[in-house]
């Protein structure tokens, strides 16, 4: 069904539909039964308003009969129209019943004639529409339009939230930036090592690291950092073979001396010398 209708819609060349002699029995040239009827009606060569529906029904039925004889596939709606026209024809020929129910045969015929007139009218209108000068086919716009330059005016946006956030953030930033953390003075390892090296050069025998540190440190608050750095520096110097250190027990004073060229010294406990 769909396929058949579509084949009609794809539009056979218009000239086939547009009033070739009557006995070309080729239903595919028509856009459905109404189109076929309209073509047949035109052959009566009278104003569609005065057309004989009876004659038209006959023409249609003859056409369909001919089509069936040559075994043309007919879409169902052609047959429905044929049946309806046969019915209408019989109604038109018979005297009207005394109590008609539904539309009379005359009314049905008029309605059909009106449908045909309407289809014809819209086709005529379509024709005239398509014959109007068409854009880009018959009439043309400016071929080389000149652009309108655009001057942009900025419109700035910002929200109250942006404003408050910005204000609070920078005020706060400045306040916090003025809070000073006292810088801790640290005796660096390099400093400790340099002074230890100097000290080792001066003392040939065991000296006490603690005493040395106490005399060295001016500011008592620096005692811890000086002690820690010196001890670390001392370990490093021992590892490098520059000096020896010695401690009798935990928390006992630490002694150091320049590394002796020949083996272990007499007085110290050798187990504590660090390699």
């Amino acid at each position: 069904m769909t396929a058949e209708i579509l084949s009609f819609e794809t539009g056979r060349p218009a000239e086939i539909a547009d009033g070739e002699p009557a006995l070309v029995v080729d239903v595919e040239g028509y856009e459905g039964p109404l189109d076929l009827l309209l073509t047949l009606a035109r052959q009566q060569k009278v104003d569609l308003a005065k057309i004989s529906i009876l004659a038209l029904a006959d023409q249609y039925l003859i056409f369909i009969e001919a089509a069936r004889k040559i075994r043309l596939e007919l879409a169902a709606d052609y047959l429905v129209m044929a049946a309806w026209l046969a019915f209408l024809k019989s109604r038109l020929l018979l005297p009207e019943p005394a109590t008609p129910d539904g539309p009379s045969a005359e009314e049905m015929a008029t309605a059909l004639a009106n449908r045909l007139r309407r289809l014809e009218a819209i086709r005529e209108a379509a024709n005239r529409l398509m014959n109007r000068p068409q854009f880009q086919r018959d009439i043309f716009p400016r071929g080389n339009p000149e652009s309108i330059a655009e001057i942009r005016h900025p419109k700035f946006t910002a929200t109250l939230f942006d404003l408050l956030t910005a204000y609070a953030a920078q005020r706060q930033r400045r306040v916090l930036a003025t809070v000073h953390l006292a810088k801790r003075t640290v005796w660096s390892l390099a400093e400790a090592r340099a002074s230890l090296e100097r000290l080792v050069g001066m003392a040939d025998d065991w000296s006490c690291l603690d005493e040395y540190l106490l005399s060295y440190v001016v500011d008592p608050t620096q005692k811890a950092t000086v002690f820690a750095s010196s001890f670390a520096a001392a370990l490093e110097l021992v590892r490098e073979g520059e000096m020896e250190i010695n401690q009798k027990e935990a928390f006992a004073p630490i002694y150091f001396r320049k590394r002796q060229p020949q083996a272990s010294g007499a007085m110290s406990a050798p187990d504590l010398s660090v390699e």
């Binding site: 856009e31 209108a125 109007r132 880009q136």
Partner: protein
């Protein structure tokens, strides 16, 4: 050059296009409209004109001035634009722009939509006596000349179709009232397509405002699906073109 300009001055005696006498606003309108390929509406033009210019009068003057020229000032869908004169189409052959040839069915459907809008698919089919393939409507939608307007407030809420500004522009119509033969059609009552002639208004309207028997399209209405007739399960069916 100078000599030609002088020659022009001699001609000017016969047809004095008096530069002084010609209102400046005509120059401005001319420039704006000439430069643009797209139609411009009166409000937009007025915005660019100096204060106190009666834009309507100026446009009418300009239109009259150009009426006999090779380029005419035309109004399309309430917008103004210069276009080449219709009678010069023979001159304007352009290889590149090949106008799409619509099928006979598509042309008919387009005409029915134009003259009967807002119109539903069923009404189109009633007039033509044939089922309208989805392909035909697709092709027409693709041209941009028709658009689904809304839904008819009847059972099934079918889509209503109407024409667009591009349609008016394509056929050089100022408004739908300029459709050829419209008056005759109205006179014969043939525009009254709807059989139950309840609320029939036999004048086509492309007013964007919906009629009272129309509902708006819903957001998300999928045209692809809507256009496929409910009775026709294979939407791929046939390409009407």
């Amino acid at each position: 050059m100078a000599s030609l300009a002088e020659k022009r001055m001699e001609d000017a005696e016969e047809t004095p296009v008096d530069a002084q006498a010609r209102p400046e606003e005509l120059r401005l309108l001319e420039a704006l409209l000439f430069a643009s390929a797209e139609p411009i509406d009166q409000a937009a033009l007025a915005k660019r004109m100096p204060d106190g210019v009666d834009i309507k009068v100026a446009l009418a003057q300009l239109q009259a001035e150009y009426a006999s020229r090779g380029v005419n000032l035309v109004r399309v869908a309430n917008k103004w634009t210069f276009r080449t004169a219709g009678d010069l189409s023979w001159l304007m052959t352009r290889e590149s722009t090949e106008t799409r040839r619509l099928s006979r069915a598509a042309i008919e459907v387009l005409a029915i939509i134009a003259y009967h809008q807002p119109v539903t698919r069923a009404e189109i089919e009633e007039i033509r006596g044939v089922i309208t393939s989805k392909g035909t409507l697709d092709v027409l939608l693709e041209t941009g000349w028709i658009r689904p307007r809304g839904r008819r407030k009847t059972p099934g809420r079918p889509l209503t179709f109407g024409t667009t500004e591009a349609f008016l522009s394509q056929f050089s119509l100022e408004a739908l009232g300029d459709l050829p033969g419209l008056e005759e059609l109205k006179g014969t009552g043939l525009l009254d397509s709807r059989l139950p002639s309840g609320f029939s208004v036999p004048t086509p309207s492309d007013d964007v405002a919906l009629r009272e028997d129309e509902d708006p399209l819903e957001i998300g209405d999928n045209l692809e699906l809507l256009l496929a007739p409910a009775a026709d399960p294979e939407p791929e069916g046939g390409d009407g073109n």
